[in-house]
Amino acid sequence: HQVLRIKTRNEEEIKKLHLLDSLEHLELDFWINPSTPALPVDVRIPTNGVQAVKAFLESHGIEYSILIEDLQVVLDKETQDMACSQQRDRSSSTFNYGTYHTLDSIYAELDHLVSEYSNIVSKLQIGESYEKRPLYVLKFSTGGSNRPAIWLDAGIHAREWVTHASAIWIAKKIASDYGKDPSITSLLNKMDIFLLTVSNPDGYVFTHTTNRMWRKTRSKNPGSLCIGVDPNRNWDAGFGGPGASSNPCSESYHGPSANSEVEVKSVVDFIKNHGKIRAFLTLHSYSQLLMYPYGYKCTEPADHAELDAVGRAAASSIKSLYGTTFTVGSICTTIYQASGGSIDWSYDYGIKYSFAFELRDTGRYGFLLPANQIIPTAEETWLGLKKIMEHVRDNPY
């Protein structure tokens, strides 16, 4: 089969192509239909009709060129390429960080990172989701016992896909930069990093199978047809206060009680049991914001000045790469009052360096950020996170 590109010059020629189209025995398959002379017409022609069509075009003086000489050759190569990359996908070095993945694919990559960087990366399960999916945390450590550590999570809100995608890129970055980048090397020589790439796996799966805009967990609410709790209104920080809803059908439903969501409780328990978490960092999208507490009240935290300075330094680092601007401030003054949020809980628990990021963009694509922006987003976000982590490393408490 051949594919021709036909350049028509006027409506007359378009009409002639419509005529060709009407000859059913030719079995023409127009990839771009004849519509206006401004656009080319692409058509696939089964082998038997190729000569006849070319003769027709030439006799009417209609210009054409051969787009694909032999379609079968192209198809065979594609099949080969796909089989090849499917094989390669099973080895870690070719996980495509520049595309969105399913939960299973992300979980498989976690295992690949552990096996590829086994000297510094290990995987822990900190609990199970409502629908019994494992909650996996990657631990980056060069040894010691119970060193002070940094917590980083992503994907607490299911529809914020760029956060899961950035988190897995960041995992790879930390693992591969150890021993090469002086900053990360010195950090990991003193502290551990815990990274929860998918905080809300049930929600994430739901965004792939059913509703791309799902935000909450997938827990059942007794007495209601509506499902799910907003996991970032479910923490024990001003729980049930302004900025969270008591209606199970709402996207910001706080749930029946603080920590009612197993996805939240598992993290709380882990942090409390660890006892030496020095920073709590969480990724959201979208809006390009870098925020510190509080959200549940509009008064400044005691460490306001320091947190603001660190935030500004991080935003500056982010901007240095691609010019992306992040607005820095407390949750309450930057977006809105919102109770039951994770960094308010971590801060009041005693983890001074508590920050929440809202990644790209500012609304043009919103949650549906094109995949070609994943890596640039991850790269710039990493610079911001690194700035904060360096400050944590250099200011032990």
Partner: protein, 177 residues
């Protein structure tokens, strides 16, 4: 604050052409949110200084392409889950964005912040006059409540006469959504 009337904001902003990053236009605006009745759209008055890139040629290519389609255009999920927009759908998306701007304006208060999240469905409606008509179902993301609100809007467009939303209404959401 204006007693018994509402709250007025004076804004100075810079508009950037999404399709031409170097194209910027200065703008000053006054927005008045009415006291009490939240069903009235805020009053908006604005002036702009500068000119944006002329899009006549692209407008006409799009107009002619759609006008001469044999079957009415139908599409869904723009962008798709991965943020992709097929190139031939880009004008459809831009048109929705402009029309959604009107719907958002009509439904805004000091406590809302709307964005167009996605076009769920769009269907061209053939007309005998010179206008193009599209029936859109869009998803609006309201950032304060974090709600996703499906909204139907009927949009008319013509290269010389611009965009018009002739009908629009929020759509009910199923509890499972």
């Amino acid at each position: 604050d204006i007693d018994d009337v509402g709250r007025k904001y004076h804004l100075e902003l810079v508009l950037e052409d999404v399709l031409d990053k170097d194209g910027t236009v200065n703008c000053t605006a006054e927005v008045l949110y009415h006291l009490g009745n939240k069903n009235i759209a805020p009053d908006v008055h604005f002036t702009t200084e500068g000119e944006l890139k002329n899009t006549d040629e692209a407008d006409n290519v799009f107009y002619n392409r759609i006008k001469s389609l044999e079957k009415e255009l139908v599409a869904e999920n723009i962008p798709d889950s991965h943020g992709n927009v097929p190139p031939e759908m880009e004008p459809i998306r831009l048109l929705a964005w402009a029309a959604a701007g009107y719907v958002i304006w009509q439904n805004s208060t000091e406590n809302t912040k709307f964005q167009l999240a996605q076009i769920k469905h769009v269907k061209q409606v053939k007309r005998s006059d010179e206008y193009l008509e599209f029936d859109y179902t869009i998803l609006l993301h309201e950032m304060v409540s974090q709600e996703i609100i499906p909204w139907q809007m009927t949009v008319l467009w013509h290269p010389q006469h611009g965009v018009q939303v002739t009908q629009d209404s929020p759509q009910p959401k199923h509890p499972s959504e």
